[in-house]
């Protein structure tokens, strides 16, 4: 239901994102995983049309029968909120501190429908209940600073799904929250997506979270998708060296049965750090940090398809099995 | 009039001073405000300096036959005033007065205000809290009232005007200095200095002042603009410098009764005041953009 083809994002003459193809099937949850600086947030913003004015975008993002990239701001404003909902990272900053929760949650409803005040209020109470906020009537009159981080994020989610969108884009929704609260919010997102047949594009740097939430995953590095596939396949059988390195650097993930096996083990880190935007090498963008780089890697890798839907772009991938 | 630019300096943020070296790195990309402001200020200073050496007509010479001559009259490029004095000459002499009062008052206000600000920044929490309140109280009092009080007691004149401007501006300078000074004092290398046994005064002079230097330059420029406007206002009201010394403000006052007879006359001193004040304000703005890039994004260029 969301198809990205040939997406190029350029800022200040430097190409930041180049995605040949990325597809999200209806009713599924796709994870977009990468380190900071990988371009994952920018990709999400490009889809929603929320990039800064200086960004030049080309390609096509097909959603619900039209190409989002060909739309102007006012056309997109019809799509945002109504068909695409967004949840951002830091709920404290993503909510207007001077406006009551109720008003913010109801904003998309008031913008896209004709409901009268009474109906809107009822809808907000219902939504706040669905995101498991206690005492919705009281909450809707409150201001953001009066809620805890977890509550704020629930309110943001309520606001995002208020007009019953088909797609939810969540950009690191739990990263800024307490660890104890993270799992609850993730479960909430999963539940909502199942109940409402909501497709989710889940952006995160945390493989454990992605594994918990998403059916499929796309790994992004240097603005390029380097591996995609079903989450289980990619995690158990990573092919691209970067994916493998990411997994090795992860000490353990929530719900991982073998967690205890990771305790006491030395953390494997990826040498170097993500280069600044203009400084990626030619060919495979990861080759300068890759322990297994070969001469072939100076050319842009071609995509290889494995199994039922596992794709990767690496000249010297991890062996099968 | 006074406060505006300065309130802005405190209301937006003083992200902290830049070290003088980084200033030179940025000079390649100068904002337009700097050029315009610089030009106007240079013009002002130039005219003033020239006035000491030459004016089109002898100072204060009244040519009673050619009173209220319009601009373009031979020998009087911008015309004459009610007493037949050449407008250009009057403007040049008025510039002298503005420069004199503004320089003295700005330097004094900055010296006193900055010292107070530094002292407050360097003191302990209790003293700081109380003194900052004091400074804020001083800021809240309208300067024009103290100016009037001074003038009533001491009589009108340049000294009174200068004192009035100083009283008006000292709290401003103090307030602007406190924040950045405190920031610097909180830095690690200052801790190190204390560790070496250096005392507060040493640290303040040797470390804080050089680092807030750029900030003070900007402040000075803006305060100068305020001084120009205040001096003009006081002179306009009759509370500033008295005849026969020329002043733009008083000149402007005289044109009020001539609005029917010689309407063009009021443009000249008025423009002089505006362009000079504008020049210093733009210069301050331009300097601020150069020295503090965080503010640059909301600046003109």
């Amino acid at each position: 239901m969301l198809e990205i083809h040939d997406l190029h994002v350029e800022i200040g003459g430097i190409e930041i994102i180049h995605i040949d193809e990325l597809v999200l099937e209806p009713g599924t949850r796709l994870g977009l995983v990468g380190e900071s600086g990988s371009g994952k947030t920018m990709t999400a913003m490009a889809i929603a049309g929320l990039l800064p004015d200086e960004a030049k975008v080309s390609g096509s993002v097909r959603f619900a029968g039209s190409d989002l990239l060909s739309m102007g701001d006012s056309e997109l404003s019809e799509v945002r909120g109504k068909q695409i909902g967004l949840v951002f990272q830091d709920p404290a900053r993503s909510l207007n501190p001077m406006m009551r929760i109720g008003r913010q949650v109801s904003e998309s409803v008031r913008l896209h429908t004709d409901l009268n005040r009474q109906a809107v209020t009822e809808k907000v109470i219902e939504l706040l209940g669905q995101v498991q906020l206690p005492d919705p009537e009281a909450v809707l009159r409150r201001y953001p600073h009066q809620l805890s981080g977890g509550q704020q994020q629930r309110a943001m989610i309520a606001a995002a799904i208020a007009s019953d969108p088909e797609l939810l884009i969540a950009d690191e929704p739990t990263t800024a929250l307490d660890v104890t609260v993270q799992e609850e919010i993730l479960r909430l997102l999963i539940a909502l997506s199942e109940q409402r047949k909501l497709s989710v594009l889940f952006v995160s740097h945390d493989l454990g979270v992605i594994r918990f939430v998403c059916d499929r995953v796309a790994v992004i590095y240097g603005g390029r998708i380097i591996e995609t596939g079903r989450t289980e396949d990619v995690i158990s059988n990573p092919r691209h060296r970067y994916t493998a390195a990411l997994l090795a650097a992860n000490p353990g993930m929530p719900g991982d049965d073998n967690y205890s096996a990771f305790i006491g083990r030395r953390l494997h880190t990826i040498q170097g750090s993500v280069p600044a935007v203009g400084n990626f090498p030619s060919g495979c963008r990861f080759r300068n940090r890759c322990e297994h780089a070969t001469d072939a890697c100076t050319a842009t890798p071609k995509q290889v398809i494995v199994g039922s839907d596992h794709r990767y772009s690496c000249w010297n991938p991890v062996a099968e099995g | 009039m006074p406060e505006p630019q300065l309130i802005e300096a405190t209301a937006t943020n003083s992200t902290g001073p830049t070290r003088p070296e980084t200033l030179w790195r940025r000079i390649g990309h100068l904002p337009i405000t700097l050029y315009i402001g610089g030009t106007l200020v240079s013009l002002f200073v130039l005219v003033t300096l020239v006035s000491f050496v030459w004016t089109p007509h002898p100072p204060n010479q009244m040519n009673l036959e050619t009173r209220l001559a319009p601009p373009g009259t031979p020998g009087f490029v911008l015309g004459t005033d009610r007493a037949g004095r050449d407008v250009v000459t009057e403007l040049m002499l008025g510039a002298r007065n503005s420069l004199y009062v503004s320089v003295v008052s700005t330097i004094a206000a900055m010296a006193i205000g900055t010292s107070i600000g530094l002292a407050i920044a360097g003191s302990n929490r209790v003293v700081q809290s109380a003194s900052t309140r004091l400074v804020d109280a001083g800021l809240a009092l309208p300067g024009i009232l103290t100016a009037m009080v001074l003038a009533a007691k001491l009589g009108a004149g340049n000294t009174t005007a200068t004192l009035a401007i100083i009283t008006w501006q000292v709290p401003v300078a103090a307030r602007v200095t406190i924040g950045p000074a405190r920031q610097i004092l909180a830095l690690d290398f200052v801790e190190a200095a204390y560790g070496y046994g250096r005392g507060k005064p040493y640290v303040l002079i040797r470390h804080v002042i050089p680092n807030i230097g750029p900030l003070l330059i900007v402040l000075g420029s803006v305060m100068f603009a305020a001084a120009i406007l205040i001096e003009a206002a006081l002179a306009f009201l009759g509370v500033g410098v008295q005849p026969p010394t020329s002043s733009w403000g008083r000149f402007l006052n005289e044109t009020q009764s001539l609005l029917e007879a010689a309407p063009y006359l009021m443009f000249f001193p008025g423009l002089a005041i505006v362009l000079t004040a504008l020049g210093f304000n733009l210069l301050g703005d331009g300097l601020r953009t150069v020295l503090d890039p965080q503010q640059a994004r909301s600046g003109l260029s």
């Binding site: - | 804020d136 024009i144 009080v149």
Partner: protein, 319 residues
């Protein structure tokens, strides 16, 4: 919010005291002797002595100070030496025109600056946004008295649409009253509007970079919609406090504007008294005006405490 109000009240009282001490200090400790100023240097020593006793200047300074404060509170400020009027009565009489002028100035400048500042911020990267900013810059440099003269020249003398000055009380003849106030209010507003506009512009630009603007757009607002419905609201609340800081400038402007347009208000009174070396009058006048401004500041501060929900609820949440 209670705590905030109390703190504002404390600031009010503290500033009032500081102000009164500064004024008292300037009058009594700077320059020559008050009586000499009032009577002139040629006055006979006998007269000087008499006056000194009359005015109570032989008493200790502290006593004089307290007595003066008491006078301000009870409405007994003595009489003008030169003109013989009762100081307190005269002040009260002249408050009307000045209030009308300053309040008119606020009524014009606040909405105007919100519009201009927001427009300039939304179009910050385009030429037209910059143009507004340039005008605001210039507006700050134009003294109110020159603006007044320009307006008089154009609208009163050339076009003859409006009077050159004078004042008509609102209660007497509303239409004439407003007509006489238009030009003075405009002259006064120019500087203040320019300052506010620059502030609103900066505040809006800052606000537009905030995350919640992106959230608003995510719910279906266009960039402009987000600016108007979220940005303006957030930026305008602090505008209230900026406005308070400008009261001093408004008064300064009122003083000169009243002189240009011959409006019988406090501004004219203080100038006349100053030129007449009426030290006693000016001393009390300055304090009264200061008090009015401080009280207005206090009211504004309290209003801000009500408007900003974070301050309002600070105690409710136990923060």
């Amino acid at each position: 919010m209670i705590r905030h109000t109390l703190r504002s009240l404390f600031t009010l009282v503290f500033a009032a005291l500081v102000g009164s001490i500064v004024v008292f200090f300037l009058v009594n400790l700077l320059g020559g002797d008050i009586v000499t100023v009032l009577l002139g240097r040629e006055a006979a020593p006998v007269d000087v002595e008499f006056m000194r006793e009359e005015l109570g200047l032989d008493r200790p300074l502290v006593v004089q100070y307290l007595d003066w404060l008491w006078g301000v509170a009870t409405g007994d400020l003595g009489t003008s030496y030169g003109m013989g009027y009762d100081i307190f009565d005269e002040i009260v009489r002249r408050l009307g025109p000045t209030l009308m002028l300053t309040i008119g100035g606020l009524i014009v400048s606040i909405p105007l600056s919100l519009v201009l500042g927001t427009y300039s911020a939304i179009n910050a990267k385009k030429v037209r946004g910059g143009v507004v900013d340039v005008f605001a810059q210039v507006g700050i440099a134009i003294p109110a008295f020159w603006a007044g003269l320009l307006l008089v020249l154009l609208f009163a003398l050339r076009l003859r649409w409006l009077p050159t000055g004078g004042y008509v009380p609102l209660t007497e003849d509303p239409v004439a009253s407003i007509r006489s106030m238009i030009l003075p209010v405009l002259a006064l507003s120019l500087g203040v509007t320019s300052v506010f506009t620059r502030y609103v512009r900066t505040a809006m630009i800052d606000v537009m970079n905030e995350d919640f603007i992106r959230s608003a757009m995510a719910r279906g607002r266009t960039r402009r919609g987000a600016a108007l419905f979220h940005g303006v609201r957030n930026a305008s609340i602090p505008l209230v406090t900026v406005a308070a800081l400008q009261f001093g400038q408004l008064i300064a402007g009122a003083v000169v504007v009243e002189n240009v347009f011959v409006i019988p208000g406090i501004g004219r009174l203080i100038v006349t008294a100053t030129l007449g070396r009426e030290v006693i009058v000016v001393q009390s006048l300055a304090l009264v005006i200061m008090l009015v401004i401080l009280i207005l500041n206090f009211l504004v501060d309290v209003t801000y405490g009500i408007l900003d929900p974070r301050i309002r609820d600070k105690e409710a949440v136990g923060a």
